[in-house]
């Protein structure tokens, strides 16, 4: 489990580095394009046809060579960049909505960093809400694109920390989830078959929260743990039963009653 998490984290980090590198290249080229436009660059200016020794260079109507784009500038690559620009940001508008309600246009590098941070935050928030559907990250007030990026990063950190707590307190399937059976409902009375299946899962794989193979109960039975717990499932979403040991059930109870250190 840990190695999978570490692998996923490394893969994300690699993707992020690649993303930032590409964004930097695009940003550099956009600056070059902006400079060219500032220097009376005419995008409709014709080029010398291919086959000519000066093929590809800018020319004027009379066939003489005109002003070239600065080194590293874009030519028809600008179209690709315009398309990329149109896709970026929330809703593909090319703008990012800030915490103060205003919209701001990020640089390509900012857009890449923002999308990465937003994507990570949304993924983690989604995982938290599978366990605590009512949870929201602390709202942020931002006035700049950089502020919005920092806010997204902060949301991801907050969600990650809370997710760790939720797992520790037995909210949602635990790190040692190796199997479960469907729950017939929120009822705490179980058939013999259900008890046997939960005990088999517990004996074979351990408590779904901590992995202990010792149920810790006087009866020797694992506790059949509803997930989501009844207390945080008012909508009556389908639940499953997982084997849980007594200490983890205690911790879960403390959290459910608002007595654990939730935040």
């Amino acid at each position: 489990m840990l190695s999978t998490d570490a692998g996923r984290a490394a893969s994300r980090e690699l993707r992020r580095v690649g993303w930032l590198l590409h964004a930097h290249v695009v940003e550099t080229k956009l600056y070059a394009l902006r400079d060219a436009v500032k220097h009376n660059f005419d995008p409709n200016q014709p080029r010398v046809p291919a086959g000519d020794p000066d093929g590809g260079q800018w020319t004027d109507e009379g066939g003489g060579t005109g002003g070239r784009l600065p080194s590293g500038s874009l030519g028809d690559e600008s179209e690709r960049i315009r398309l990329a620009q149109a896709r970026r940001g929330r809703g593909g508008s090319g703008y990012i909505q800030l915490g103060n309600g205003q919209f701001a246009e990020p640089t390509p590098a900012q857009a890449a960093r923002y999308e990465f941070a937003r994507d990570r935050a949304d993924t983690l928030i989604g995982r938290v809400r599978e366990r605590d559907p009512q949870w929201h990250p602390t709202p942020s007030f931002t006035e700049t694109v950089e502020g919005e990026i920092l806010a997204a990063q902060a949301e991801a950190r907050e969600a990650e920390a809370y997710l760790r707590q939720l797992i520790f307190y037995g909210q949602g399937p635990g790190r040692n989830d190796k199997g479960s059976i469907p729950a017939r409902g929120p009822s705490r009375s179980f058939t013999k078959q259900e008890r046997d299946e939960i005990n088999k899962l517990g004996r074979d794989h351990g408590c779904h929260t901590c992995g202990s193979r010792d149920p810790g109960t006087p009866s020797g039975n694992f506790i059949a743990d509803h997930q989501l717990p009844n207390a945080v499932n008012p909508e009556g979403r389908p639940q499953r039963l997982y084997p849980q040991c007594l200490p983890c059930s205690f911790r879960q109870g403390g959290w459910l009653s608002g007595r654990g250190s939730k935040k």
């Binding site: 705490r188 009375s189 179980f190 008890r195 810790g216 109960t217 006087p218 009866s219 039975n221 506790i223 059949a224 207390a231 007594l246 200490p247 983890c248 059930s249 205690f250 911790r251 879960q252 109870g253 403390g254 959290w255 459910l256 009653s257 608002g258 007595r259 654990g260 250190s261």
Partner: protein, 122 residues
């Protein structure tokens, strides 16, 4: 103060005793058989899926056992009441007390998931 007793399927194997006006509750780390703050005690009992727990509250001289109690401390009782509640905050037992501080002793069968819990008050 009269003796009250009940059999109850206790969710998450946890019972709490406290004055209803004070909500300074202990964090449950899962290790041990009880957890406390200066004004509240949580004690472990049988998981509901394994059956009911027998819970008793009353004067210590009437309900107490000869064995050493699991817990023996004075809790503040400014409302002159103590309640026994579950994780879902259902009050399942309560007792009136005479003073703003009450000595609370708790007896169990010694297992973290005890089949009975006795709250003896003075």
């Amino acid at each position: 103060m009269t003796v009250r007793s009940i059999h109850w399927p206790v969710l998450n194997s946890l019972l709490w005793i406290r004055d209803p006006t004070i909500e300074d509750l202990p964090e449950i780390d899962g290790v041990g058989a009880f957890w406390s703050t200066p004004s509240c005690v949580a004690v472990g009992c049988v998981p509901d899926c394994d059956g009911d727990t027998e819970i008793t509250i009353g004067p210590a001289e009437a309900v107490g056992l000869e064995s050493t109690p699991l817990f023996d401390r004075i809790l503040p009782t400014p409302s002159r009441r103590l309640i026994v509640e579950t994780v879902m905050k259902e009050t399942i037992l309560q007792a009136s007390v005479r003073s703003a501080e009450t000595r609370v002793r708790i007896w169990t069968d010694g297992h973290p998931a005890s089949a009975f819990v006795i709250f003896g008050l003075n």
